[in-house]
Subunit: 226 residues, 2 copies
Amino acid sequence: MDKSAKKISEHGYPGLLIAIEGTDGAGRSTQIELLRDWLAIEGYGVLISEWKTSRLIAKAIDQAKERNLLHAYTFSLLYASDFADRLEHVIVPALKAGMIVLTDRYTYTAYSRDVVRGASQEWIRKLYDFAPKPDLVFYLKMPVEMLLKRIIGSSGLDYYESGRDIGLSTDFYESFKIYQRKILTEYSKMEKEFSFETVDGTLPVDALQSEMRKKVKELLDSGIIK
Amino acid sequence: MDKSAKKISEHGYPGLLIAIEGTDGAGRSTQIELLRDWLAIEGYGVLISEWKTSRLIAKAIDQAKERNLLHAYTFSLLYASDFADRLEHVIVPALKAGMIVLTDRYTYTAYSRDVVRGASQEWIRKLYDFAPKPDLVFYLKMPVEMLLKRIIGSSGLDYYESGRDIGLSTDFYESFKIYQRKILTEYSKMEKEFSFETVDGTLPVDALQSEMRKKVKELLDSGIIK
């Protein structure tokens, strides 16, 4: 490790922030767990933080979804509240403590989803501008056809993840395809803007993990973490 | 009424949106009820909408306050979620139905309070830019000394309304004074920017109400409402 070439994180904390992005079915959680296991063995303190898990607001979001109550702005703002709560109570403390934080989804999930749901791109980005900028963003890219197979084969089609509530189509399968295509289009637009490290989600689990570890290793070797 | 000089609301709905602003103890709810009674007698459909009353989020806010969990951004975003939910389910439907909506506090409450609590002025205004612009904003202006007497004489000092949680002073009374002065300073800055109709909150209830009715009457006579 070349200590003299030490980089400094844009977020300014001693820890490291790595976001893993991609739609449902892209294999995020599997890859994150494998990264966590490897980093722990390497001796790093690691924390995984998932989207929509604040003890404060996650329940309110679920209740609202059940009653089909979420209009566009309420939807965006509730998710942002949840994110802010988690950021302040989990992510930032861990970064201050010098840990490696792996986030399962990050603000980019909101940037893509909320724009598809009608929010303006400018508004949603401003909304989240209090969020620390990650040191690395992985984007697990998958073609929509493969996503369809994976999701139907596991959890089935979710009402919201299919965009049924925004009236794309009365047909569940059609609605899902249209919605996910729109989401993927938004992610594609962001690849360059946010310097995503795009990885091929269709690769076998191990091959994908090797590729991701290589990128994380490069980051660690840059001496960015103390 | 001069129909030819008909004005059009900036929000574009057939109804009328009147916001009543001012800190706690300024007499907002008394004045709003008197306005409602008068307008109902005059034959208008009237709806009162209060700050922080969305069935969806108000409970989450209260729970978080109890546990002293609210950091700056979570605080702002939760209130904004509450507002968005109320806007979409109560205020906008009423405006579409051609009613007069009297709101007890509006976005200006967030503009003052959240800035005092550390949010940037630009961020908080952008956050609420989905909110319809009121046709009239009353600002019930009161000197801090009188507010103190009124509040201590009624409900007592609230932990949040005293800014105790943001560490202004360990003394409750001192903290309240400092916090409310900061809030009043923010309101003063907004008087011109948002064309507040500033009214003297120290006037007797009836005198204040007459003044407010006069302003509302002018608005109604302008033919802005159908």
